[in-house]
């Protein structure tokens, strides 16, 4: 995000693990750097699960597993979009605002206690459209007017929140009146909650796009070295706009799903999600400077944070400690990842 200035000219990057082989102990550092993500994460997950199962037998129950998957679904959808954006070295802060706007638009057009209109499928189209529109706005201002994505998405965060507040107005809380819609996210298909299946479908599409399309590989190339990506004829601006549009669309979907899970509309339906999604991507090894990481790693990051949260609650830890534990974990994870790549000449922003 912030290390834009000097990588400009010829892309002289004195940073990153790629330069590691130049100094001593490099092969180990490289090996460690390459494997620390998934192996470290998976072993951390296994340890967590074992510890929590011992602390509280209810943790390993089928009901709690379904509960965890239910909680994982919203951040999982968000992290797919966030990973696309972070891979190209940008950042999308607008998550919570877009969720609020899309969720509120959707519930007001679905069967609810306030308005008597039910647009059915069109409610989905409008809700997702709001997300896509705000994402497009972010992407266009960022790519075409060359305003840093941090600032633009900070602006669209407030814009989304503003739309949600205006839609909410002064009248009563809109609650879902359709039993079918309200029950859908928790209902089980093949033993797993529907909302999780939705998230899995999004994740599968995300992996496909990220790993097997020109666009997905292009985002990685932009994050790695934008001048070279541009110089080799890649439609960089188009890719940037598309990445933010997809992220916006997924924020919209997550907003609708979260609204459905809650059963009523709320302007701050996305509250706290940004503090799960960005640490999850970073813990998973997606570098904020771009050009690294992947969907599956971010997914592991989401699971780690949600299981940690769930386990701590079941172990009787005060919820006040949640953000502290997340923060501490984030610190440990980034330091562990950055440790082998330390270098006197490395640029760390």
């Amino acid at each position: 995000m912030a290390d834009a200035a000097q990588s400009g000219g010829g892309g002289t990057r004195a940073a990153g693990p790629r330069t590691a082989p130049r100094h001593g102990g490099a092969p180990f550092a490289r090996l460690f750097g390459a494997t620390t993500g998934p192996v470290g994460l998976i072993s951390a997950l296994v340890v967590l699960i074992l510890v929590f199962s011992v602390l509280n037998p209810r943790f390993a129950s089928v009901e709690n597993l379904q509960n965890v998957l239910f909680q994982v679904s919203v951040p999982l959808i968000l992290v797919v979009g966030a990973t696309l954006v972070i891979q190209m070295g940008s950042i999308d802060l607008s998550v919570e605002g877009i969720m609020g706007a899309a969720g509120m638009a959707w519930i007001l057009l679905s069967p609810n206690t306030r308005l008597a209109i039910d647009l059915g499928v069109w409610a989905w189209a409008v809700g997702l459209g709001v997300g896509l529109g705000l994402g497009l706005l972010t992407g266009l201002i960022y790519a075409k007017l060359k305003v840093p994505s941090f600032v633009v998405s900070l602006g669209t965060w407030y814009v989304g929140l503003g739309i949600a507040i205006l839609l909410y107005g002064n009248s009563s809380l809109p609650s879902l009146t359709s039993d079918a819609l309200e029950r859908w996210p928790t209902a089980l298909t093949l033993g797993l909650p529907n909302s999780f299946w939705l998230a899995v479908a999004v994740l599968a599409a995300g992996v496909l796009i990220s790993n097997h399309t020109r666009f997905g590989r292009g985002l990685m190339a932009i994050g790695n070295n934008e001048p070279i990506a541009r110089g080799s004829g890649m439609p960089v601006d188009l890719y940037k706009v598309a990445a933010f549009a997809i992220a916006g669309l997924l924020c919209g979907l997550a907003g609708i799903l979260a609204t459905m899970q809650l059963g009523s509309g709320s302007t701050d339906i996305g509250f706290g999600q940004l503090f799960i999604v960005i640490p999850a991507a970073v813990i998973g090894g997606t570098a904020l400077s771009g050009g690294e990481g992947g969907m599956m790693r971010s997914t592991l990051g989401v699971f780690l944070l949600i299981i940690l949260n769930n386990g701590l609650v079941l172990a009787g830890v005060d919820p006040d400690y949640q953000s502290g534990v997340f923060g501490l974990l984030l610190l440990v994870a980034i330091i562990a990842v950055a440790w082998p790549g330390r270098d006197r000449l490395k640029v760390a922003k």
Partner: protein
């Protein structure tokens, strides 16, 4: 900015040398826009509001606007110093919040010494951020997001999730808010004094020039033997210290402290004020004096929106578009620069 980045190119080719000869004029023009935009934006809004609704512009209006701008200004000043070296401090508002609770808990027993204690503690927290950044080379965004979470929990635990009212020695701190000079509370003047001090440091001292050098071109700074570790630790410590000044402003205004009270939502307005004040998010450009106008603008936008007849509900929307428009107008777009 990019011309400075590559001294070898300038030495090698005579043409850039020639261009460099003419540069000062061009640089001055570019700089003048950055210098002038923040006050212009503020006075433009002031003008629009005064035409639309004169009732908002009396001495009372000034006093309200500057009072609500004071904590934003102090947090934004620290943020501007951090942005100037190309990093970001997401934890500075959380440091301020933690500081308010510590301050409210210590002032009844220790009186004025509480100010020293709190300033020392928050400066150390900032220095810790800087040291971790300098020695482990993690990205400051993720690092300070982590300390943000830890400090949030620390605030909740320290306060027991309750509001702490300052009863004894209350007048020691509320005097900062109640005392006015030219209708403006002392808390805001503290911010102005800090801004002038920081501006002087950036402009006239080696330490300040080193900070800007790190922000403009960190690799260049390393090769020029700028002590970057010391610079980073110092800047983050400064950010913590300035958050400590914000603590005084917040407690002086509220007379109490809580983990969800005044000061819990300072992070984003602080960043917005620094950016509207012409600070570049990619580093190497900060003018603390202009951050004063940035903070005034950010504090004034909700008042302006109300004065212009937008309902309270439209404030977020106006605020969001406003940030985008102002930064779009003032951001740097040097040729070949990579915008992330």
């Amino acid at each position: 900015m990019t011309d400075r980045a590559d001294p070898s190119a300038r030495a090698a080719a005579p043409a850039p040398e020639d261009r460099a000869g003419r540069l000062p004029g061009g640089l001055r023009r570019a700089a003048s826009w950055h210098v002038l935009a923040p006050p212009l934006v503020f006075f433009a809004i002031l003008l629009v509001v005064s035409v639309a609704n004169p009732a908002y512009l009396g001495p009372f209006g000034v006093s309200i606007a500057t009072a609500s701008a004071a904590p934003i200004l102090l947090v934004a000043l620290g943020q501007a110093m951090v942005l100037n070296i190309g990093s970001i401090d997401l934890s500075n508002a959380a440091i301020a919040l933690f500081g308010t609770i510590l301050f409210a808990l210590t002032i009844p027993a220790t009186g004025l010494a509480a100010i020293v204690i709190v300033l020392a503690v928050v400066t150390l927290i900032g220095a810790f951020n800087g040291a971790v950044l300098a020695y482990t080379q993690v990205p400051s965004f993720a690092l300070t997001l982590g300390t943000f979470g830890i400090l949030q929990t620390a605030s909740l635990v320290l306060s027991g999730s309750e509001t702490i009212y300052v009863s004894e020695n209350r007048e020691l701190v509320t005097a900062l808010y109640a005392t006015r000079a030219f209708g403006i509370p002392l808390t805001f003047w503290i911010g102005v004094a800090a801004a002038i001090a920081y501006w002087t440091m950036l402009r006239f001292t080696v330490a300040g020039q080193n900070m800007t050098a790190v922000g403009k071109n960190e690799s260049g700074a390393i090769f020029s033997a700028v002590p970057i570790r010391r610079v980073k630790i110092a800047v983050f410590a400064l950010s913590g210290f300035t958050s400590g000044l914000a603590v005084l402003a917040i407690v002086a205004q509220a007379g109490s402290a809580s983990a969800s009270g005044l000061g819990s939502a300072l992070l984003l307005p602080g960043i917005a004020a620094a950016l509207v004040g012409g600070t570049s998010i990619s580093g190497g450009q900060a003018n603390p004096i202009n951050v004063i106008f940035g903070a005034l603008t950010v504090a004034f936008v909700p008042i302006a929106a109300q004065a212009l007849g937008f309902g309270a509900q439209a404030q977020s929307l106006v605020y969001g578009f406003f940030i985008i428009v102002v930064v779009t107008l003032t951001t740097t777009r040097a040729r070949g620069i990579v915008i992330k």
